[in-house]
């Protein structure tokens, strides 16, 4: 039986829809992923295998063939871990086939937890264009996915949580998008030239209040720098 799970891919900075087809058949046990995946996609097999076992489910002893359609476009990254897991579990009958109006993206850890991925916003926008109504993303990416209009976004922390949600045992709460203005004020970002990896401090403290010499934790001397030695990080 072939189960299909909708997912998304990236080409440059524009997203496109990817259909993950999963076929469980008799024969010698094997697990193949076709559809021009890169090394990260090939390695997804090991992550999915471990994640399924650590979710308490059984990994099927059958010949598994997964196709990432359209099969002529190169697929990159760890986006397909989650749809692969769902495709296999649906093929095995652990869960019902996912709703055709929903799409899934996310990287799995061996424990079944979901890890953040990059390029979520373009993919979410592509999902909305393709008619997807519900998008499941890793919890850390949920805020970004809500920036795309016309989607119900669920932030998923781990695979067992998602399985309970899909079985209807314990529903997740959708992430609210909020209106445009509140989104802008709710998500301050410091667009400095520094990379997140090299200067996390700069990113963790978005410049909102004018820089003062002394932190507000010491109100006694919390006056703006009069010596002009503080770098102005916001309009001064």
């Amino acid at each position: 039986m072939v189960t299909t799970v909708r997912s998304l891919g990236l080409q440059g900075i524009s997203g496109y829809e990817v259909t993950v087809e999963c076929f469980l058949s008799g024969g010698l046990p094997a697990f193949d992923v076709v559809g021009l995946g890169d090394t990260a996609v090939k390695e997804a097999r090991e992550r999915v295998r471990a994640a399924i076992k650590n979710c308490g489910a059984k990994f099927p002893v059958s010949r598994i063939t997964v196709n990432l359609a359209p099969a002529n476009l190169k697929k990159e990254g760890t986006v397909y871990d989650l749809p692969l897991l769902l495709g296999i579990l649906a093929g095995e009958g652990e869960i019902d086939a996912p709703d055709p109006a929903s799409a899934f993206i996310g990287e799995l850890s061996l424990t079944g937890a979901l890890r953040p991925i990059s390029g979520v916003l373009p993919m979410a926008m592509a999902a909305a264009r393709a008619g997807v109504k519900t998008l499941y993303v890793p919890g850390a990416n949920a805020a970004e996915a809500t920036l795309a209009d016309g989607l119900t976004v669920y932030g998923v922390e781990n695979a067992p949580q998602l399985l309970r949600h899909l079985r209807g045992e314990e529903r997740l709460a959708p992430r609210s998008a909020g209106n445009r203005q509140s989104r802008r004020t709710a998500f301050p970002i410091s667009p400095t030239s520094w990379d997140r990896r090299t200067s996390s401090a700069r990113w963790k403290s978005p410049p909102q209040a004018p820089t003062t010499c002394f932190s507000s934790a010491r109100p006694v001397r919390a006056s703006p720098c009069s010596r002009g030695v503080c770098p102005p990080s916001s309009p001064t």
């Binding site: 440059g12 953040p116 390029g119 805020a143 920036l147 802008r184 998500f187 301050p188 970002i189 990379d195």
Partner: protein, 283 residues
Amino acid sequence: MLARRLPSILPDMTHEEALESTEIWSVAGLTDSKHPMLTQRPFRSPHHTLSAAAMSGGGRALSPGEISLAHHGVLFLDEFPEFHRDVLESLRAPLEDGEVTITRAAGSVTLPSRFMLVGAMNPCRCGWYGHPSGRCRCSQKDVEKYVSKISGPLLDRMDLQISVPSVEFEAMRRREKAESSAAVRERVNAARDIQKKRFAGTPITCNAYMTAPMVGEFCRLDAAGEKLLKGAFDRLGLTARSHDKLLRVARTIADLDGSERIESYHLAEAIQYRNTDILRGEG
């Protein structure tokens, strides 16, 4: 130092601009759960050792480069002549088109790259050329060689060229209250509002992106202005590209002034930003 203060006077981002920039940052993996959206214009200042692929984008996954990460923001290149020649020349097409098309074995992608390019450089290798103290020890040939690292076509694409004299000690220590960035930013936003009204119904939002027919329509000069422009052309040896650029800058100066028409003094100010002798080896 001056250029790093630039973000504080940049105009506000529209929602559409913010989404476009965030898409690029998202693909580059620069967003996270705490900062999912860019709400201020990006300011990128890559080191001069970066490669052409890092500048324009590329790599196995065709990921965006610095010019795309600076989309709707500022790309600041400190020590401009120290950048590799191919890196600098790769800026030419994106500066004109506002996008860059990268073709590699993996395929071809077009990435948006509308950015404000800011370059900073010394007048010569030792840095003292033209200083009244006469401390420069570079030969004329060395100076020319240093300056010639910036090619003519690239220099021609620079709207504003300003030589900044060294600051005297007294001026540096004087604690005069200069105009605040917030006040400047208000003026910038006011000029932007004028431009938004002017270009309502067209795909562009500001003077810099005016097409040639738009320049003809919105940058009309009076008789005195025409005469001034002709004089500048003959004297400075301007190109057809710089003609349009000059008029765009004059239009912006008039907008900042709140003036409907481009007066001759607006044009004169625009012309003087193109007249940096030191970059033409005549300092």
